[in-house]
Assembly symmetry: D2
Homo-oligomer: 304 residues x 4
């Protein structure tokens, strides 16, 4: 392995170099911009080959190796890449973001400096209705007349918030205390640095339709406008093995096997046995509904 | 080492068992309560002795060993203990808390449920003045007349916040969106679990007088009312080797050496050489002021 | 949520309490024993319900909630449980084990104490052949006559190792240096503590048939003899959603869709298009072989 | 803060660029070489200033800010830099190295490939004596005649090890099993990537004289030959606030205060009170000896 002791010349990834520092706008007043990065598709391959020793260099193609690694969750080579972003994001969105503990973070301090004078505004057509089915989701938009009223009230409220904050500062209240009544949607900024393995994990959770709209917008921007350009081979594999992948539980595998054989009755009673139906076995519960969606993609039909 | 294969009976720490679940009140409406824990002073000793093998059992006393470990930053045995708390804390305080990435967290979800109907109230005598010297600190209290006015305004504002939030919910706005304008000081709740090594690190940073008042109150409650009872030997060592410890930089060691010898002139010019004075060498900068405070504790006097 | 401030009585999990400290033998001279633990199936549920607030207590059953959490990778409630083991394991196996960075570890020190006088012995029927297909795996056993010879040589070699080590110690060589020529299969001991989320991740990787035999023996013992008793609901869900689960990539979903419709030709050419065949499109590559195995479980047949 | 949205041009650190890929030899056959890196002294400053907002740019100098951050353990800006090394190291040294869990690692696999054909050789003058005082340390060298004999035996033993390993491979034993009797000092190689905060922590522990000679050699090479060139300001601050710093416990501060006042008797009896002497108060224990060394540096004298 030690033969590769020759001098190393660092060459960047041109598609990413070109956009360094450029702001990618997200939401009404947020952004994401690449400040620095480390590594490329090639350095993932290089790291994987340390493990395999010299024997493999000729045989595997880069693309095939990256796909193999991602498919089989050999995650360590992906940790060899780093991305450092400068982001501007509403604090209530940042609350969700910061729960990913594996990143390095420097955030704008409203103890040290006056808070950023921007709050996330909601346009009349952006107000979302509470989903009844999914207690933590939204579904559809408010009627436009109500939307307009809500936006107007929001606007008035934000002005009141700012006034209160400024008055406190004017009277000498400490910044660390004056900020206590700023709304959760006040914008903050941060440097956020993360390795690629953990970034992909972040993206798979936050680009998902279960994620809240706001953070999904950020995740999608990072994925599609940054990672896709930075690491095209990894991004392609990520689509195939994560974004478009389907996970089947043990019971689901058995049910599909029965449906493939045309044994609908047996499949149905098996599902009932497993408690997938509620209310006298009539109403499909969550697992039954989830499988129905998967069957759809496979060209099969749920017997319920 | 393997001789200790006898049956293990788990016995708790009586002083902690007694207070399991009890609320320790913090701030106007917050609390901390122990939900579960793992380990004791003894299990720290036990873990350390795995490393040392059987040879040491008789020689070292538990207290001496714990002090040795903490003094010399042998941190792994302290990782063998865990504390799980249920806490209620204003979100702006929680923002600082959550930056400690080594803890396990389950937080109350305002996507899933209606937000907790409590905001941190500030009493007239609790309003703090901005410190001029320390840009991120506060110093002293507001005049009481102003304090009263500030508290009254805060009260009105909180009512307006609640009204806005409830109106939105009434109109069917999704909870995940309706919450966006709640004030940062809205209370949240969480289960927070952390190992002892990382807990002590948290305490040393957050019990410090540089920490913001609110989180300092929580850290002090956790330290003095929980850890002190749970692990008396570790707590004592933590006082000696962390809380009451003093760290001297290389240059400070040299300066103290000179002062001990009575060479004030040399000490002074050495400090100037190092750029510890600003404005024509007349005004002591931060390092000079810091050393002066340390010298005071050592019974020495700064020559500036 | 705050209504649950009543006193907490810690009750253990009886099935685990009973076996605390008992050695579960692994390999020729290794073991795993539970030293301590924190939490139960119930504490996972309890932590999840902090997030959901009071609304859900009646509705969800514990079993259903645990299954929901595991299925949807809501991992944080599983982090609320901890397991602390005392293990005895050959160092070459420990090298793989220690790569799981999220655990807390105290290991026996051969700097401080004389090395444990035990090396992993291989019985004549335990010698494994190098797999040709899988460069990092083994396949089948050696012929018994060769096995006997190998075991005899191993035995002689271990004696020589011990003699060398003891001679060095006798001559006063520092333990930290004398140990340098001990064989990798020398046994070591450690306390190993990990939270349940990370433990399940460890088990899913190390109980897998791709894992080396030795560590698989340890992982299986931990899973089947400890976790299964400690957390029966979680263990059942883990079987369904991890161990017996099947992951289909985006391309695999499309191919299965075609096969379900009976379009074998199209499926075949699609697979070729994706480069799943080598050597003039005749030999199925790794992805083609992997899918064939999955199809088998689903009652479908690969068209290659 | 958002004004710095201009384009970013990544410029490397010339002193580090020049040595990229060059091997720095360590021990008889090991090395360390920089494969890639991210950041510079400037990016630490840049990250810190995100927290402080625009207000501070003019005031603080880079050097002063870096020193302030390191002195006050504001660690997050240091996490913004990364170093990626390719290392070759004996496995018994690597065992200590890998205990630093915050790094990213890809190691050469002896399951996949034949083990590296190199073992750490000990020259006749390199054999170290066991320290009597420090159970986990060494002190002084062996007599040269014995050293020669030990080296000769080591050489013979290594040949026997290689022969055994090769025979097993020749007979078809799986690589994952054949390796079990390789000596702990067999060389391995790895890519090792770590952020600067954690690297400095690694260096402060492993450059210390308590660390074993072998890993100290690696740490010193990384510190003095790489970090010193890469980040001159950080390296200088690291010398002052870590390497040459002195930590005084609460009790030590009190004792020094007494000695400064010339109250030797009181200091002595205080130390005895604290149990710093063993065997009828006559023999200074570890804390007493440690303080004596510190007093020496401060120009004071222990009264024992």
């Amino acid at each position: 392995m030690t033969e590769n002791s020759e001098r190393i010349i660092r060459t960047g990834v041109p598609a990413l170099e070109e956009m360094l520092g450029d702001k990618i706008n997200v939401l009404d007043d947020g952004f994401v911009r690449v400040v620095d990065y480390m590594g490329s598709d090639e350095s993932i391959v290089q790291a994987a080959r340390v493990s395999y020793g010299k024997g493999t260099k000729q045989v595997s193609q880069d693309r095939g190796l990256i796909r193999y690694l991602l498919r089989n969750r050999h995650t360590t080579p992906f940790e060899m890449c780093e991305l450092k972003l400068h982001i501007r994001v509403p604090m209530d969105c940042w609350r969700q973001w910061i729960r990913h503990r594996t990143a390095n973070v420097n955030e704008y301090s409203t103890r040290y400096s006056v808070a950023i004078d921007a709050m996330r505004k909601t346009q009349p057509d952006e107000w979302r209705l509470q989903s009844e089915l999914n207690k933590q989701g939204s579904l559809g938009s408010m009627d436009n007349t109500i939307g307009k009223a809500l936006t107007q009230e929001e606007d008035n409220f934000h002005n009141a918030c700012k006034q209160l904050y400024e008055q406190r500062l004017d009277q000498g209240v400490a910044r660390e205390q004056a900020r206590k009544d700023l709304p959760l949607c006040t914008y903050t900024e941060a440097y956020w640095k993360i390795d690629l393995h953990n970034l992909l994990h972040f993206l798979s959770l936050r680009m998902d339709h279960h994620a809240q709209y706001e953070i999904r917008e950020y995740a999608t921007a990072i994925g599609e406008k940054i990672v896709a350009k930075w690491l095209p081979l990894t991004w392609e594999a990520f689509q195939d093995y994560r974004i478009n992948a389907m996970s089947l539980s043990g019971p689901e595998v058995i049910l599909i096997g029965l449906l493939v054989k045309g044994e609908k009755e047996e499949a149905f009673s098996k599902a009932r046995e497993m408690g997938w139906f509620t209310g006298g076995d009539l109403k499909p519960g969550r697992e039954a509904r989830e499988l129905a969606t998967k069957l759809d993609r496979l060209g099969l039909k749920a017997p319920w």
